[in-house]
């Protein structure tokens, strides 16, 4: 975990250790500090609903319930943050593994300017090769598999690093230390 954390923080990712009991308040705390107005959650997810139940009235909870064509403008113009689960992570490179699902689609981790990720500490692999062989990815690849390592960035202008290119400007990882929930989702 420590290695993962170090690698993540090196690329400007905010990392918090959380438990079952406090993760929601950590998220809401960050939302308040940063003045977030809305958070996008998936459809019918346990963690999404847990957040929704405790959200204050000034924080709008938006659910990704319809196909993107129905509400694309709203997503692009004005959702401040999104919350998704991670399938796992790679310690070596500080990467989160995301397999978007019908419940938590692809654009959730891409369009909103801030991305909250819930990661189960038990699902951390040593490296990419380990992850794909242990979980036997070759057997059935999803429509889209992603490795995410920090907020989006570019060094195209005079090799000077700038964050917040096209993807999220900020990434917040909540490493969940529970027990009895072992293994990748």
């Amino acid at each position: 975990v420590a290695r993962l954390r170090q690698a993540l923080e090196a690329v400007k990712t905010e990392v918090h250790d959380v438990t079952d009991a406090d993760w929601v308040s950590v998220v809401l705390g960050i939302a308040a500090t940063k003045g977030l107005r809305h958070i996008l959650i998936g459809q019918g997810t346990e963690h999404g609903e847990a957040l929704a139940r405790q959200a204050p009235t000034n924080l709008q909870i938006v659910r990704y319930e319809r196909a993107i064509e129905a509400w694309q403008t709203q997503l692009f113009d004005g959702i401040d943050a999104g919350l998704t689960l991670a399938r796992g992570a790679l310690a070596q490179t500080g990467s989160l593994i995301l397999w978007p699902t019908p419940a938590e689609p692809r654009l959730m981790s891409l369009v909103p300017s801030l991305h909250f990720v819930l990661l189960d500490a038990n699902t951390i692999h040593a490296d990419f090769h380990a992850a794909m062989t242990v979980e036997n990815w070759a057997d059935r690849m999803p429509t889209n598999a992603l490795l995410i390592c920090g907020p989006s960035k570019t060094a195209d202008i005079q090799q000077t690093l700038a964050y917040g290119a096209h993807g999220p400007r900020e990434l917040v990882v909540l490493i969940w230390h529970g027990h009895g929930h072992g293994g990748a989702a």
């Binding site: 690698a7 993107i68 070596q92 690849m141 598999a145």
Partner: protein
């Protein structure tokens, strides 16, 4: 100060190099950028043993893929098709553009948003779309900047490497409505982000390249830092991916070592912000993603390289750019001077296959054969050997074994052949050699002071008064 240089064969290569060599600002830009990239790469490979074994692994994976290319391409097509991705084959750039246009016209597309794709540059995609009344926007920040300036990219990884932030600040102020001049890089990036966000949302088709295609699972792998690739491959309702036929590997497990080599060699990062692996179009229960995904596989001369076992090594390339970052020639003349889509050492060895030796042979000669490129190549392409091979091809006598490529013998001249013929006679017969060297040293006063290109910036070459054998004799006599 940048000048628009159209991509065309290297007839006036010499002229362009001379032009850029006389531009100290441009040279300083490039020197700084190359030093930066070299340092970043070095920092990523602190353990020489790990580096060498990873390079060997990368080389073997690529070699295996190329040795099995026909079978793997068939497997790739079958896997992709089973996944719902439509596969198209294009022999030439025109065919590739025609396929893309056919798709675009069927879905009545008016706007295409592009992720970074060198192959799309190779085929002149933007131009072909424009001719058909379809707008093609670049979304990679560097490519966007270069498109705004009406130029071509000068480096395969950092397209705007030849521009300073002042250049870009001025460009944005002039070309983007409502934007004030600012040299703050963060602010400039936010401007680009804002402008391009709308383009993603409004585009009908997203175009991308492919870094690695996996045959066993039918997966297209893309790496990026900015997020624009994910945007292009997720938001528009049609995604077209285009790449060369050499980019395929057999197994998913071949991907991690290649990506590790690629990102560390290219930008000095252990991993890019995003690794995007696409295997299917949007499924019935999914809420986003493209409805259609297409892959166009381009040949454009790659099979010529494949057919020759030595030249096949050229196709191992994973497009990292390390070779050009370490090339002393590239550092001085920059990417535009080459006049080809792919500049630097890789450009010199691949362009003859894509464009023919006739127009690209000067690139193989524009090298000191220092070998820096071959040393840093993550997949161990023997670039210097290939440069020498191409030089031989260019000067080969037609209809001999040496002349096996399209355009072989193009650089062969009577004068050069005669000179080298004489040289080879003199240097292989010791009697002739003794005589010739005696005349050279005793007749040194007759050496011309104008020795063409040499004396443009150097003092003339003059043979020594005493030959080595004279000195040895003198020394022996003294004893």
């Amino acid at each position: 100060m940048s000048r628009v240089v159209p991509i065309n064969p290297t007839q006036d290569f010499k002229e362009r190099t001379r032009f850029v060599l006389n531009d100290p600002a441009q040279r300083q830009n490039f020197r700084g950028a190359m030093d930066f990239l070299q340092a970043k790469r070095r920092a990523q490979f602190p353990d020489p043993e790990e580096l060498q074994s990873l390079r060997e692994l990368g080389s073997q994976i690529r070699r295996y893929s190329l040795a099995n290319l026909p079978r793997l391409l068939e497997q790739l097509e079958a896997s992709l098709t089973a996944n719902g991705i439509q596969v198209h084959w294009a022999q030439t750039p025109d065919e590739a553009n025609a396929i893309a246009l056919q798709i675009a016209q069927r879905v009545q597309a008016k706007r295409i948003i592009k992720g970074k794709s060198m192959v799309s540059e190779e085929i002149g995609f933007n131009h072909a779309m424009q001719a058909a009344g379809i707008e093609a926007f670049e979304s990679d920040m560097g490519e966007y900047i270069v498109q705004l300036a009406g130029e071509a990219p000068s480096h395969i990884i950092m397209p705007a490497i030849h521009k300073t932030k002042q250049d870009i600040a001025r460009l944005f102020e002039q070309e983007i409505p409502g934007v004030a001049y600012t040299e703050d890089v963060d602010a400039l990036i936010q401007i680009g982000r804002r402008v391009l966000r709308h383009k993603f949302a409004e585009a009908d088709i997203g175009l991308s390249g492919v870094n690695v295609a996996v045959a066993e699972t039918g997966t297209l792998c893309l790496v990026e830092n900015e997020g624009n690739g994910r945007m292009c491959t997720t938001v528009p309702r049609v995604h077209i991916a285009i790449t060369g036929i050499e980019k395929v590997v057999e197994k998913l497990e071949h991907v991690p070592p290649l990506l590790s080599l690629l990102t560390r060699s290219a930008t000095g990062q252990s991993v890019t912000t995003y690794v995007n692996m696409i295997s299917r179009p949007r499924q019935p229960d999914e809420k986003d993603g493209p409805q259609e995904v297409h892959l166009i596989l381009l040949d454009n001369g790659r099979t010529q390289a494949y057919a020759d076992l030595e030249l096949r090594e050229t196709l191992k390339c994973i497009r990292c750019g390390a070779c050009m970052n370490h090339c002393p020639v590239y550092a001085r003349i920059g990417g535009h001077a080459y006049g080809t889509t792919y500049p630097g050492p890789i450009g010199a060895i691949i362009s003859p296959h894509l464009l023919g030796l006739e127009s690209t042979y000067p690139l193989a000669f524009a090298s000191t054969l220092c070998g820096a490129c071959a040393e840093v190549c993550p997949v161990k392409i023997p670039i210097t050997d290939l440069l020498v091979r191409l030089r031989n091809e260019a000067q080969a006598r037609p209809d001999t074994d040496d002349a096996s490529l399209r355009g072989s013998g193009v650089a062969r001249t009577v004068t050069a052949s005669t000179v080298w013929g004489v040289w080879s006679q003199v240097y292989s017969k010791s009697g002739l050699y003794k005589l010739a060297s005696w005349f050279m040293s005793r007749g040194r006063a007759l050496s011309p002071s104008d020795q063409g290109a040499w004396t443009r910036s150097r003092t003339p070459l003059v043979p020594a008064a005493r030959r080595l054998r004279d000195l040895i004799k003198d020394h022996a006599d003294k004893k």
